[in-house]
């Protein structure tokens, strides 16, 4: 994947990602159905294509930029614990969770939707 340094934040939180994906699916399918009916009535398949592409444009404007509505549920990270070493800080979550399982606020509400 390309790593482009955008001059502004492009991040969406997990709920925002789910909402954005559902939104563009609904919009594109809606315009696809409208276009199919219009193309059938006009007997012109290019109308269907144009309708779908218009829906893609609308949903691209709505979902590709990280609008603030997709950033309302930021991930609550754990406080950095100063007992672990700096080198294996990323790996420390499993060991630290075994030490203090009641402080793991990241896992329960988010589920398996990341990436």
């Amino acid at each position: 994947m390309l790593d482009i340094e955008w001059p502004f934040p492009t991040h969406m939180d997990f709920r925002g990602q789910k909402m954005a994906e559902r939104l563009f699916q609904v919009i594109i399918v809606f315009f696809g159905l409208i276009g199919f009916l219009a193309g059938y009535m006009m007997q012109q398949f290019s109308m269907t294509i144009y309708s779908v592409l218009f829906g893609v444009l609308v949903s691209a404007v709505l979902t590709i930029p990280p609008w603030p509505m997709y950033r309302n549920n930021p991930v609550e990270w754990q406080k950095p614990s100063n007992s672990t070493k700096e080198t294996n800080k990323n790996n420390a979550s499993s060991s630290s969770s075994s030490k203090s399982p009641n402080k793991d606020v990241r896992k329960p509400p988010k589920g398996k939707k990341d990436q």
Binding site: M12, F24, I28, Y40, V56
Partner: protein, 185 residues
């Protein structure tokens, strides 16, 4: 979905999927279409000449020369799954060696949006009517039209048109060069 490019990628992939489903829908909606149409074919002044076929075996073969009258309205064939219509006119006849001889005398490509009302009067054939021998004299020839439907999605249909015409070539060779507007060179 977390970054710009991954959202763009997901959107693009979903768009392609939707377009594929719609295209399959177009195919299904026209699957039972028959694309039949009636045409009228006429023949004018059929003559037979005996000439050297330089394009093939350089022997003296029979060459049929005739003029065509075509009248048809194929606008009804263009539904939303027809991209191109390819018309071709076949001459069929029987010789002692071959039970079926087919020669394409004329064809035409009609794209979507072009006028499919065809009225042609006394046109020369587009391709030479060469026999591969000397069997055209006093032979019965049937002219029929057929078309291929080139679809947006689906299969390439081959549809014979309703309506054909038959004629009999004369039993004499025509020799004058003045009577041959398309003498081979």
């Amino acid at each position: 979905m977390h970054s710009f490019l991954s959202r763009l990628n997901t959107l693009f992939a979903f768009t392609i999927s939707v377009l594929a489903v719609l295209t399959i829908g177009v195919f299904i909606s026209t699957y039972f279409e028959k694309y039949h149409e009636t045409v009228s074919i006429g023949v004018n002044k059929p003559i037979v000449k005996h000439m050297t076929d330089y394009s093939a075996n350089r022997k003296k073969n029979d060459l049929g020369v005739l003029q065509l009258n075509l009248d048809m309205n194929l606008n009804q064939l263009f539904d939303w799954n027809v991209k191109v219509l390819f018309l071709y006119l076949i001459a069929e006849y029987v010789t002692p060696t071959n039970s079926l001889n087919q020669v394409v005398l004329w064809d035409k490509i009609i794209r979507r949006g072009e006028n499919a009302r065809i009225y042609l009067h006394d046109i020369a054939t587009k391709y030479y009517f060469w026999d591969d021998g000397e069997n055209l004299r006093s032979n019965n020839v049937t002219l029929s039209l057929a078309w291929n439907i080139i679809p947006n999605a689906g299969r390439l249909l081959h549809v014979p048109a309703n309506g054909s015409t038959s004629f009999i070539f004369s039993d004499q060779y025509t020799t004058s060069r003045a009577a041959s507007p398309k003498s081979s060179s």
